[in-house]
């Protein structure tokens, strides 16, 4: 049985957290994540959860406290956004290096300067090599579902890595939408209880976490093991995504395809843009265009081979990036990685990159269709304009 509710994205996250009932939530508020922390603090005050909520003085402290609590063997969750994630930077690597299964929502927001509170993916894309699993959400429903699955993924003994669940700032976080909520008990059964392999508080078998390792120590081996955890995560994410259908009727994979099988052209997007892309695909199909969508959910680990398999029959694809690497002409993070994934492939589509929506600049359906037109024209003229374009920028 599910309950359908009208909820903003931040409340959907808080509700999932209430059902999970983590042991510890250290958090610091930042727009547009604030209402997650506010709502959850209210739940703690109302004794709807047993969570020890730690109010800290900064995001750096929030993640530091999360790391301490997780090393003690607790189930720990937190949430942040933008500058908050930036301030967590050094601790991000420590959380993943210590193999602590922390689950964190990051509400995607641009990074300063100039100051901007609106949605783009610069914050989480900047953290893409910090050793965290990253799951992107199209809407509040997916954010809710991803949070519940994230607990299982993070704590799986083959993985033991922190998971970041991403949700578009304002566009989803502050938009009232339809969310199907699960009942408490199935969620509690699904996430189970945490079984930490080591605990700081285990005085009979005292472990050390992240101690100074020296030049001839095991740093390299630890990093290699971390890479293995990320490799292992794929299978676990797939399995958990399938099992989740058992309690919700909704299954999850690395990515979702829509009308892609017989498509000549494809749009590749993550986050809320995928929804708008889906509508564009429908409208273009009505006009006889063979267009499909690939919505990327899992950016870390990056499902390179699966993406190649799913897209190799495509003539040309528009890859949408809501952040830029600012690295010259190589394009945004999704584009760079996808293009790299295709390097060894014999059959590959022509890939075009559209960097859009920085600082909350709106992406509407006409712009979405424009990307398809551009790649179609590029293919028919045989004249390849720049592979990387900025969509919706005022030139």
């Amino acid at each position: 049985m599910t309950k359908v509710a009208a909820m903003v994205g931040t409340d959907a996250i808080a509700e999932a957290m209430r059902q999970i009932n983590p042991d510890v939530v250290p958090a610091y508020p930042i727009t547009p994540q604030t209402s997650i922390v506010e709502t959850y603090a209210q739940m703690v005050a109302d004794k709807l959860v047993d969570t020890e909520m730690i109010n800290v003085e900064s995001e750096h402290s929030a993640l530091s406290a999360a790391i301490g609590a997780a090393a003690a063997g607790s189930r720990v969750m937190t949430a942040t956004s933008s500058q908050g994630l930036a301030l967590m930077w050094e601790m991000l690597y420590i959380a993943s290096g210590l193999r602590l299964p922390i689950v964190m929502t990051n509400v995607n927001r641009a990074l300063s300067a100039p100051v901007n509170i609106h949605c783009d993916h610069s914050d989480s894309m900047g953290a893409r090599d910090a050793g965290w699993i990253q799951l992107y959400s199209e809407d509040a429903q997916e954010a809710y579902d991803n949070i519940i699955q994230a607990v299982r993924i993070a704590e799986h003994p083959d993985v033991l890595l922190p998971v970041m669940v991403l949700m578009d700032g304002f566009i989803i976080s502050h938009s009232l939408g339809r969310v199907e909520l699960l009942e408490d008990q199935p969620v509690k059964n699904f996430v189970g209880t945490i079984q930490p392999p080591y605990s700081l508080l285990d005085t009979k078998n005292p472990p050390s976490f992240g101690a100074f390792d020296g030049l001839h120590g095991y740093y390299f081996e630890v990093k290699r093991a971390q890479a293995q955890g990320m490799l292992n995560a794929s299978a676990v994410i797939k399995k958990v995504g399938t099992e989740f259908a058992g309690i919700s009727g909704r299954s999850y994979d690395f990515f979702e395809t829509y009308r892609l099988e017989d498509a000549e052209y494809a749009i590749i997007a993550l986050g809320s843009a995928a929804g708008t892309a889906r509508t564009a695909v429908d409208e273009l199909r009505e006009q006889g265009e063979r267009v499909g969508l690939l919505k990327l959910r899992m950016f870390r680990p990056f499902p390179a081979q699966e993406l190649v398999d799913a897209l190799s029959h495509i003539k040309a694809a528009a890859v949408l990036d809501r952040s830029d690497t600012l690295a010259g002409s190589i394009g945004g993070p999704v584009f760079v990685e996808l293009r790299s994934a295709f390097y060894e492939a014999e059959k590959k589509p022509r890939l075009y990159n559209f960097i859009y929506g920085l600082g909350g600049r709106e992406l509407d359906i006409n712009m979405m269709k424009q990307t398809v037109e551009t790649i179609q024209t590029g293919m028919s003229d045989g004249v390849v304009q720049s592979s990387v374009a900025y969509l919706g920028v005022r030139e």
Binding site: V4, S175, L176, L363, I365
Partner: protein, 187 residues
């Protein structure tokens, strides 16, 4: 799908009205969105918020640029913003004003559109004791788009405000809603 754009000033409760409409759609088993255009929150500054209501899942996530219905919650905005932007011929505009639809049609050259007017400030002042045009505007909207019957809207408002406000306030809100529902002039 019905797409609605609200023009108001910060503090007039338009976001609340849009959220209430979304919850009403939920009660009807419909799909919906309600979201504001975010910016610095300043009381009195022009703001926009949006609704989408549909019997199918809604997958677009950007502001409403081609509205079926435009709600002008503050009369002074008519002279400040282009509230008809993106409206197709035959689209509906609902304006908070004491003037009749014909007058507004002439004054703002709204010949291509359906125009409705409701004196939401007077109604809210008389029922709630202060200028809070959101609930009367919602009442006028419900009359026009027929999503909820008056009885359903009354029950909904009672439930919606039930836990948050004293009975006196709830009754005043319902009164405002009903009066706007009955008094809105449609042309």
């Amino acid at each position: 799908m019905t797409e609605i754009r609200w023009h108001a000033r910060g503090g007039q409760g338009a976001v609340t009205a849009a959220k209430m409409l979304a919850e009403m759609a939920l009660c009807k088993g419909l799909f919906f969105q309600a979201f504001p255009e975010y910016g610095p929150e300043r009381m009195g500054a022009p703001i926009q918020c949006f609704n989408r209501v549909s019997d199918e899942p809604i997958r677009t996530y950007y502001s409403v640029t081609q509205p079926d219905i435009v709600m002008v919650v503050d009369p002074s905005l008519c002279d400040v913003i282009d509230f008809t932007s993106g409206m197709a011929a035959g689209a509906q505009v609902v304006i908070n004003t004491g003037e009749c639809p014909d007058t507004m049609k002439e004054k703002y050259k709204l010949y291509d559109y359906k125009v409705a007017t409701v004196d939401a400030i007077r109604i809210s002042t008389e029922t709630m004791g202060r200028s809070m045009p959101n609930i009367p505007m919602l009442g006028a909207l419900l009359k026009i788009n027929g999503l909820f019957s008056l009885e359903e809207a009354k029950n909904f408002t009672e439930d919606y405000f039930g836990s948050k406000f004293p009975q006196k306030v709830i009754e005043a809100n319902i009164k405002a809603l009903v009066r706007a529902f009955e008094e809105v002039q449609v042309k």
